[in-house]
Symmetry: C3
Subunit: 383 residues, 3 copies
C-alpha cells in the first residue's frame, strides 16, 4: 500500500472491488490523492459506513474494517458533518479557475479543436480527409484525457466532428500498429489497445457527451459507446460495427457495451449483420440516448452541457463512479476483446477482405465509405 | 444453522447465494419456515435437483449436497409428485381468509389509506401538505411491509397518491435523521436507510404495483423503482432524480435500478442532469413499464391487479424470487449508496443549495416544487 | 486436462471462465479440437495476449500464464500473423462444402422441414395438429442441433412454423416426462430439461434467426428467446409466458432471458400477469428484435440470413461466443429453474388448473389456445 499525504487525500477502505474501488479510482482521477485499503479475503467489501473530512488534509471513506489500514488514517481526527470532498477552488459555482483557463486555452491538438466556455469544453475532431482514427487522433485523445484528469479541468466535454459526413468512419486499417503504439502511452502494461484507452475515457472525472452527425462505425461507434451520453441527428447519423463483415469481432468495446445496452438479441443483430443503423433505430435499440431533429441537436446538447457543468463537481464524480462500477465491463474482458481483434486483423481473411474494399475506395470519401453497410454485401457477392 | 419445525418448513440447500438464497428468502417472507443450508466454499451452489413435500410438514428443495445439512431433512420421507408449497388455506382460489380481512380492515395508518378488495390491497399515500417522505410516511411504510409479510396477507398491493400533483416529491430534507431512524426499525444493523427499506419492499411476497400521477422525484422515484411494476399517466406524471443537482448522488436505489433498467448512457443522463422526465420519455427509457392515457390508467391497473391476485400465490412468490435474484442489487452496494448520501447530505454543498431552494418555496406547493427540474437550473445561474 | 491432437486444435489458456471459456466452448462446438487451460485460483483469467497458428495443426490463444499449461503448446513453433482459425474449407467465401450439402439434403426430420440454400438452412416446424412441443419435436431439435455442431454445417438457420396460427403454443402438458427424456439425450447429467437444451441452442456455432408468425407461448417463447435474433409479424404474432397463471414459474429460460432483456419491472409484468403480448408491445419491451409488417417479414429475414451467411464463419463464431459470455445465464440457474418447473408441474395446483383448461379445448385449435391470455382470466373467475 502506497501512502502519500500531499494536498487532499482520500482514504478509501474496502477498495478492492465494487463501489469502493470505483470511488477510489474516481477520486484518484479527479486529482485527489487516494489511500486505498481492502481486507484480504472478505465477502462484502465496499460497504461504506463513515466518511469524515480532516481539516483540509484528508477525507476518509471508511468501512468497519478501517482498523486494518495502517497509515495516516489512524492519526486522523474525524470531523463529521462536512463535505466528503472539498476541492481547493474557493467557489465551486464559479467555473474553472485560472489554472484551467490557462491550460485549456494553450492546449493545442493537431486533430482536435478545443474551446472552453465556462466549465464546458467543446472538442471537435478534425482529421482530414475523413477523420480516420489513426496515430494522430489517438495521440491527441491521449493528450486530451491527460488534460481532463487534472482536478481543475473542465467538468463537461462535448465531442463532435468537423466533417459533416464522418464523425469517425473507423480506424485507419493501414496503421493499426502505429495507433496502438500511441494508445499504449495512456496506460500501463496491458493497456496497448483502443479498448483500454476508451475505458480510460469512460472513467474520466469529466462528464463526456457525444454529439453525432455523420457516420460513426467500428471504433468510431466504440468511442461513442465509451462516452457518458450520446445524442444524434435524426436526419444525419449512422452507426455500425462492420468488423464481423470484414473478418473479426469488434475489439474496442462494442461487444461489451452493446450487449449490456441492447440485450443479447439486438447486440447479436448489430454485431453479426454489420449493418448500418440510422438514428431512429439506434435510439429504439438503446445504442444512443436519443435521436433529435438536426435543427434542435446543437441547442439541446449545449443546454445539457451547461446545466451539468454548473452542478457540484463532487456529486457528478461520485454518481458517475457508482454507475460505472455497475455498468463498465471487467478490464480482463476489454483486454481479451482487444487481443483477439489485434490478432485477427493481421490474418488472411481480414487482409483479403480489406484489400477488396480498398479496390473500391475504402478509406476515402467514396460510396464504399458512405454506404459501408451496403458495400459489405457487395463484397460477399463479388467475393 | 437455526432449525425450527413449526407449521410448514422449507429446507433449502445451496442457499448461500443466487437462486437458492432467493428461494429461501422468498419462502421465509411468505410465512414459511425455512431451513437454509449451503456448502462452505463450493463453486456452483444453487443447483436445485430435488424437491419433495413431506406430508403437511415440510418441503425440501435440495441440491446434491443435501447430505451436508444436519437436521430434519435426514428424517424426512420424501413424497414426490405433490406441490412444493401447499399453503394452509383450504382453497387457493377463494382469496384471502378471514384473518387477513380482519387485519387489513383494522390496520390503520396515519399517512396511508388502505382498502382491501379480494386479494388486492389499495394503498393511498396521503401526507399533507405535499406527501413529503418524512418520519410518519416511513413509519407507516414499515408497518405496511410488516403486514404484507404475513402468509395470508394480500397477494397484490396497488400504491397511489391522494395528491394529484405529488406522488412523492422527495424526502423531507429537514428530517433526514428522523425518517432514517424510522426506517431502521424495519431491519437489522446496517439497515438504517431508505435504500434498505425499499429493498425490503422489493422482496415482499406481495406483488407491488405503482400507479403514478403527479411528481415522483428523488426517493419518490426510488420508491417506484423498488415496486414490481410501474404504470404512469401519460398526461400527468413526472419522474426525476434531482440529487446531483442538489449536491449528492441518489442514495435509495436509483443508481442501482436506473443503471440496470436504462443502461449506462441513459442512467448517466437521468442522474447527472437531474432533469424532469415526462411519462413518454420515462417509458421510452424503461424507467416505467408503460405510460397510459390518464383516462385508461385506473381501469388498466385494476385489471392487472385483479388478474394477478387470482393466480396461485406460490407461483407468484417463486417467479418473483427468481427474477429478484437476477435483478436486485447486492446489499453491500445498497448500503454503500445510502452511506454516501447520508454523509453528503450533511455537507456544506447540499446545505447551501437546499437553503437557496428553501428561499424559493422548497417543500411547499410552489413553482420550485412543481418544476424542480427547472428550479435547479435557476439555482445554478442565481448561485 | 484432456489433450487431443486430431485435425485442427485450439489451445486456449485462461479458459476457466469469462471470454476464455466462451472461446474454448465456441471453438469446440465449431468442430475445432480444443485444449483448454486455466490457472488454479487466479483473479483475472481470460486475458488473451497472444494467438498463433501452427501450420495446419493448431492455433494457440494464450494468456501470460501459458507456461502453466503442459502439453503440446510447449512444443509449438509460433507463426504469428496468420488466421487464428483456418477451417479446412479451401475458400471461406464459397459457402458450405459438399459434406454439408450432402448431409443437409439427406437429414430428415418428422416434425421439421429443412431446406439448404447456400449457407442458410431453413427449418420449418410442422407438428400437427397445432405444433405442440412434445417428444417428437424435441427429438428432432436434438438431431438438428447435432447436425449444426459439425464444422461444415450451415452458418445460419432460419426457424419458422408451417402453422399460421401457432409457432409453438407451449409444451404438451400430457407428455412432460417423455419430452424431457428426449431432451436429456442432448447432454450430460443435469441436462435433462428443455432449459438446458435451449441453452445448447444458444451456444450452437450457427447463427439462429426466428421468424415469428402466430402464437409462441411458454416454452415456445423460450425457444425464441434462446435464438440469436427474433423478428415477428406486426399483424400476426403473440408472445406469452402463461406458466404462472397455470401454477408454476416458467422453467426453460424465460425468467433468465426476460429479466436481462426487459429489466426487472417489465419482466415481472410479463411473467406475473401471464398476459399475451402482441408484436408491437413485444418490440417496445425488447422481447423481440423487431416487429415488421407481415408483407415485409419474409424478405427482411431472408436478407439478414443471406448477408450473415456470407460473412467469415470464424468472425461470426468468435463474436457470438463473446456476446454469449456476457449475456447467457449461469448453467446452475438454468438447471434450478428447470428443476422447480418439473416439480411444480406435477403438483395439485397445476394439475387442477390444466384439467380445467382441458375442459375448454386446451391443446386443440380452440378459443382457449387462440386466446390463452384471456382464458387464464376465465379460469380465475370460473374457478
Amino acid at each position: 500500500m502506497d501512502l502519500q499525504l500531499k494536498g487532499k487525500v482520500a482514504v478509501v477502505t474496502g477498495a478492492s472491488k465494487g463501489i469502493g474501488l470505483a470511488i477510489a479510482e474516481a477520486f484518484g482521477r479527479g486529482g485527489v490523492g487516494v489511500i486505498a485499503g481492502s481486507r484480504s479475503m472478505g465477502v462484502s467489501t465496499g460497504w461504506v459506513t463513515e466518511a469524515h473530512e480532516v481539516a483540509d488534509l484528508a477525507v476518509i471513506v471508511a468501512s468497519p474494517l478501517a482498523g486494518n489500514i495502517t497509515g495516516p488514517s489512524s492519526r486522523s481526527t474525524a470531523a463529521p458533518g462536512r463535505d466528503i470532498v472539498t476541492s481547493r477552488r474557493p467557489d465551486c459555482r464559479s467555473g474553472p479557475g485560472p489554472a484551467l483557463r490557462g491550460r485549456a486555452m494553450t492546449a493545442s491538438y493537431e486533430t482536435i479543436g478545443t474551446r472552453l466556455d465556462g466549465s464546458v469544453l467543446s472538442a471537435t475532431f478534425d482529421a482530414p480527409p475523413i477523420n480516420l482514427i489513426g496515430p494522430e487522433v489517438v495521440r491527441d485523445l491521449v493528450g486530451l484525457l491527460e488534460q481532463l484528469s487534472h482536478p481543475d479541468s473542465a467538468r463537461v466535454v462535448v465531442f463532435e466532428s468537423a466533417d459533416p459526413d464522418f464523425f469517425f468512419p473507423h480506424v485507419d486499417m493501414t496503421k493499426v500498429p502505429e495507433y496502438t503504439a500511441e494508445a499504449a502511452k495512456a496506460g500501463g502494461p496491458g493497456d496497448a489497445s483502443l479498448g483500454m484507452l476508451f475505458r480510460r475515457l469512460s472513467l474520466t472525472p469529466a462528464v463526456t457527451i457525444a454529439k453525432l452527425r455523420g457516420r460513426a462505425r467500428g471504433a468510431g461507434s466504440e468511442f461513442l459507446l465509451a462516452c457518458d451520453m450520446r445524442f444524434a441527428s435524426w436526419e444525419n447519423a449512422v452507426l455500425g460495427q462492420p468488423e464481423v463483415g470484414i473478418g473479426a469481432p469488434p475489439g474496442a468495446g462494442a461487444l461489451q457495451h452493446l450487449t449490456r445496452l441492447l440485450g443479447r438479441g439486438r447486440a447479436l443483430e448489430a454485431v453479426l449483420t454489420s449493418a448500418d443503423f440510422d438514428a431512429e433505430l439506434a435510439e429504439r435499440y438503446g445504442w444512443i440516448n436519443r435521436a433529435l431533429p438536426d435543427a434542435e441537436l446543437d441547442g439541446f446538447v449545449a443546454g445539457v452541457a451547461r446545466r451539468v457543468g454548473a452542478f457540484p463537481r463532487d456529486a457528478l464524480i461520485a454518481a458517475k463512479a457508482a454507475i460505472n462500477a455497475i455498468s463498465l465491463p471487467p478490464v480482463a474482458d476489454v483486454r481479451a476483446d482487444a487481443a483477439l481483434f489485434q490478432q485477427l486483423v493481421r490474418g488472411t481473411t481480414v487482409q483479403q477482405r480489406t484489400a477488396a474494399l480498398f479496390e473500391h475506395g475504402f478509406q476515402t470519401r467514396s460510396r464504399t465509405e458512405l454506404d459501408l453497410g451496403a458495400a459489405l454485401d457487395d463484397l460477399n457477392t463479388v467475393g
